[in-house]
Symmetry: C2
Subunit: 196 residues, 2 copies
């Protein structure tokens, strides 16, 4: 494969490598994707990947997973001025739409659940909690709710992941089912802990 | 290690091997536990393990995971005669108790979430659905509810797994929090789908 002679500043290069790796991991899986493939997609030589990610594939995947979660958490609409009853259906529809389009960031995050690396589990938990904080802004007016609230919201994400799998992978339920369940489940779950 | 000369019928031997392997995987992890260790625990020679599980570690783990789920699903009290309002707290307390005692079957099931083998994912889903059917008996009076109900109950298990991790691994919430949330979450979640 021809190498492009393009020169990039280190930050831009790193971003480009992570972006190419994100697409590669989304299309393949952590086990199957090799650095050779990522280098080809990024149109760089393999040693360049090692210069940015000396730890090789595990380190690269960690950077990809962080980027994937950043993209997903950024999708949560916490804009003020509208009531939560309007934002919840819109947020649910946005995420269900990402699943329908097999969004690469979402696929990476889903794959990460099956990667048995302590650092990967840690990032997954931290990112789920960051997401939970965004949801807490909408539902409780604070990004720093008590731990039981974060636990319930994090659990709600896991609940949602199962619904998405049942719809997308197993076809046992419909998109409308998923939306109805995700919209309906959140208020009573938040209600369980918000009074404390 | 001395070999016991005990002779067992094939079914009993298989059961003994699976039991020893279940303890080994519960104490270690899928990655770290080797067949040598399982053989030592079962007090048999390694080739005997291969006679029962020609596929080696993946095949043995599948048998262990099936046994672990069987033990857990058997714990769901679906006994008739008592109202569900009495059975739910008792069932929740039983599972929370298993987590508190670091029950081996529960640990194996938790580890399996991080094993990236299609067969392991399949068993996990099938077993979660079997568990969901047991819960449906209590909450809806049928072990064969519509798919949306199974999806919600399966999602509830995933929700519960997150709560158990927050309590046991991260210490962010208490046992009482977990029990309150698990008891409180189920009725509204079932309510979302039982009218359909």
């Amino acid at each position: 494969m021809a190498r492009s002679p393009r020169r990039l500043a280190p930050d831009a290069r790193r971003e480009q490598l992570v972006g190419a790796a994100l697409e590669a991991f989304a299309d393949g899986s952590y086990e199957r994707v090799g650095l050779e493939e990522v280098a080809a997609r990024a149109d760089v030589a393999r040693p360049l990947l090692y210069r940015y990610f000396p730890g090789g594939k595990p380190e690269l995947f960690v950077a990809v997973l962080e980027e994937a979660w950043r993209r997903l958490v950024d999708q949560v609409d916490t804009g003020d001025g509208r009531p939560v009853t309007a934002k919840l259906p819109a947020n649910v529809a946005r995420f269900v739409g990402l699943a329908e389009r097999s969004d690469p960031a979402l696929r990476v995050v889903q794959q990460a659940r099956h990667v048995d690396e302590p650092r990967v589990r840690e990032i997954t938990r931290d990112a789920r909690r960051a997401w939970a904080r965004s949801m807490a802004v909408n539902h409780l007016g604070t990004a720093d709710p008590p731990e039981p609230v974060l636990a319930v919201l994090t659990g709600y994400l896991a609940f949602g992941e199962v619904l998405l799998e049942e719809w997308r992978i197993h076809g046992t339920i419909t998109r409308a089912d998923v939306e109805r369940m995700l919209e309906g489940a959140l208020p009573p779950l938040v209600g369980l802990v918000s009074a404390h």
